[in-house]
């Protein structure tokens, strides 16, 4: 175990991963019950990436996210109540019901938004990193993006600009082996997205994205490097989407059963729990109690969201523009 983490912090990391898992399972059910309008993209299986990376960040560091963004917001410290309220399109949601699952954001904790456009995040995070360098405030930006997004020009443009200006940016690729419904081998010419770092004169690191401590350590080094003013890092986390691109089973992609079983056997949550038990940091009973505590929090959050009023149509034209100026 890393010496810099107390037992409470280690348990906190486990709890955060369980929170994301339980949040997503309930979101999937709510979508299947048509209680959530539209679509949700589930982060189940990838929890170690968001939690491992964000465990190195403070509220004043920035992240940008993807269409699969619930886990990133929760990892950054987001509030499940306001998230469910947003997913349900209610007025107490993070975006007052105007954004939904694909646009949850909390600027107060540096979360610059989930994003419905694959590959839109890298230049935006690069811009936030530029602001930190401009103000010399010591903050960093992390852009989460997928293997699919690494084929978009935006990734390459942001990587080039960040490297040129030595911006405090971490390009965190969550390689879950699928770009929507297309296998990685069918959509890109490299196996390791990290290889693309060479084209931009920055370190390219591959890490096991199912191992939260490995992610935390690798991201921690990249973040420390960025804070020292030494520029960006491309960090590729090998992970797996336990469910489909949309919801649990969208029904148009049949994945290899052995492949799915293999990755599920590497589930990051029981893996980390086992480590904590083996090291006598928690007992199995503690872990069960932790899960129960998280489930109660999820119940409460869903209750809050369902009690939240629908937005009044009179707010339709609010928030398009601001009256404010410098």
């Amino acid at each position: 175990m890393p010496a810099d983490l107390s037992n409470d912090e280690l348990i906190g990391i486990l709890e955060r991963m369980i929170l994301i898992r339980e949040f997503e399972e309930r979101a999937a059910t709510l979508m299947e019950q048509n209680r959530i309008p539209g679509a949700v993209h589930l982060y189940v299986g990838e929890e170690a990436v968001g939690v491992g990376v964000c465990s190195n960040l403070t509220d004043s560091d920035y992240i940008t996210s993807t269409h699969r963004g619930h886990g990133h917001l929760l990892a950054k410290g987001g509030d499940p109540k306001r998230m469910y309220a947003e997913l349900l399109g209610r007025s107490d949601g993070y975006c007052k019901g105007k954004g939904g699952s694909m646009h949850v954001a909390d600027l107060d904790i540096g979360m610059l938004g989930a994003n419905g456009i694959v590959g839109a995040g890298p230049p935006i995070a690069m811009g936030a990193a530029f602001a930190s360098q401009y103000r010399d405030d010591g903050n960093v930006s992390v852009v989460f993006f997928g293997d699919g997004a690494s084929n978009q020009g935006t990734f390459h443009e942001a990587a080039n600009m960040a490297s040129l200006y030595k911006l405090p940016l971490i390009l965190c690729c969550e390689n879950n082996l699928y770009g929507e419904f297309t296998r990685q081998a069918d959509h890109q010419a490299v196996k390791d997205v990290a290889d693309r770092a060479g084209g931009y004169n920055m370190p390219g690191i591959v890490v096991d994205g199912m191992d939260v401590m490995a992610v935390r350590e690798a991201a921690g080094e990249a973040i420390a490097r960025a804070r020292r003013g030494e520029g960006p890092t491309l960090l590729e986390c090998k992970t797996y989407r336990f469910y489909d691109h949309v919801g649990r089973d969208f029904g148009i992609l049949k994945r290899d059963e052995e492949e799915v079983a293999h990755w599920k056997s590497r589930d990051p949550i029981p893996a980390f729990q086992t480590i904590l038990v083996d090291q006598n940091i928690i007992t199995d009973g503690d872990a069960e109690a932790l899960t129960e505590k998280v489930r109660a929090r999820i119940d409460e959050a869903v209750e809050f969201a369902e009690a939240s009023p629908e937005p009044d149509p009179s707010v339709l034209l609010e928030d398009v523009y601001t009256e404010a100026s410098a």
């Binding site: 920035y62 940008t64 949601g93 993070y94 975006c95 007052k96 019901g97 105007k98 954004g99 646009h103 954001a105 600027l107 610059l112 938004g113 994003n115 419905g116 456009i117 839109a120 890298p122 230049p123 935006i124 995070a125 690069m126 811009g127 936030a128 990193a129 530029f130 602001a131 930190s132 401009y134 103000r135 930006s141 020009g153 935006t154 443009e157 942001a158 080039n160 600009m161 040129l164 200006y165 609010e318 928030d319 398009v320 523009y321 601001t322 404010a324 100026s325 410098a326």
Partner: protein
Amino acid sequence: MSQKNFTKAIVEAVSQEMERDTDVFLAGEDVRVGGVFGTDAGLFEKFGEKRVWDTPITEQGITGLAVGAAAAGLRPVIEIMFMDFMGVCMDQIVNQMAKMKYMFGGKAELPIVLRTHSGAGRSMAAQHSQSLEAWFCHVPGLKVVMPSTPYDAKGLLTTSIRDNNPIIFIENKRLLAVRGEVPDEQYEIPLGVADIKREGTDVTVIATGYLVQDALEVAEELAGKGVSVEVIDPRTLSPLDMDTIIESVQKTSRAVVAQEAVTFCGLGAEIAASIQERAFDYLDAPIKRVGAPFSPVPFSPVLEEAWVPGTAQIRAAIEEIVPVNA
């Protein structure tokens, strides 16, 4: 107050606002050498590479830089060298900077000015000559500003940089050499307020960009023939000051809308539709539209001259609807 050309007015507006507000920075292609049209002359030398980023040729990167830096609290002024190049970075403009505030329930403010150069007249052919302002007027969340004089250019740009909304600021290439009185000190011209460039009683010409200059020339010429032409420059295309236009048409009972962009689906069509909705009973003649024919901008000087609308088309349109001896 002294005589300055449009280019100098632009440089002065940016320079003085950068002096006043250290959150303002400039980024764009070839800004180190003053920009290909000289609209950034001297800024790199004056403010240095931290505040004037001479970027790679990377339009998605530049626009994303602006979105992220603005979300993180800076006030980017970015330059997309030719308006045609905005096709390269439409996602960051249309899906990101325009919508972020609304999608996030009002929390994000993006004080961005995207400056760009539009228009034909230099034999630069189909990819370096377009007037695409209508594209951006069609997107809620953006403001679109298009001055026609050096005085308006400086005042509107100063206001735009201070405004907390994303703004597309269009600098027409043929206007860059036009000279006029421009105060040396800073001043603001409010956005969304049209300017009556010449008062008249027989017909209202609502013109934008270089066609304001053309309309004024025609108005002067027709005054000698006993036709009194009122010329209105909306100056801000979104939000559009229809009140001033309607008031004028109620007085003159005739209207011509004139733009350099292709006529079909242009801003002129929107203005004409709004006039007939709000002032139908005042109209004594059909509203005429002046604009470019429906083809890409041609290269050959002969063909380009045939393409660009100007004084001849404005005069012909007026003569079609203003009775002889009016």
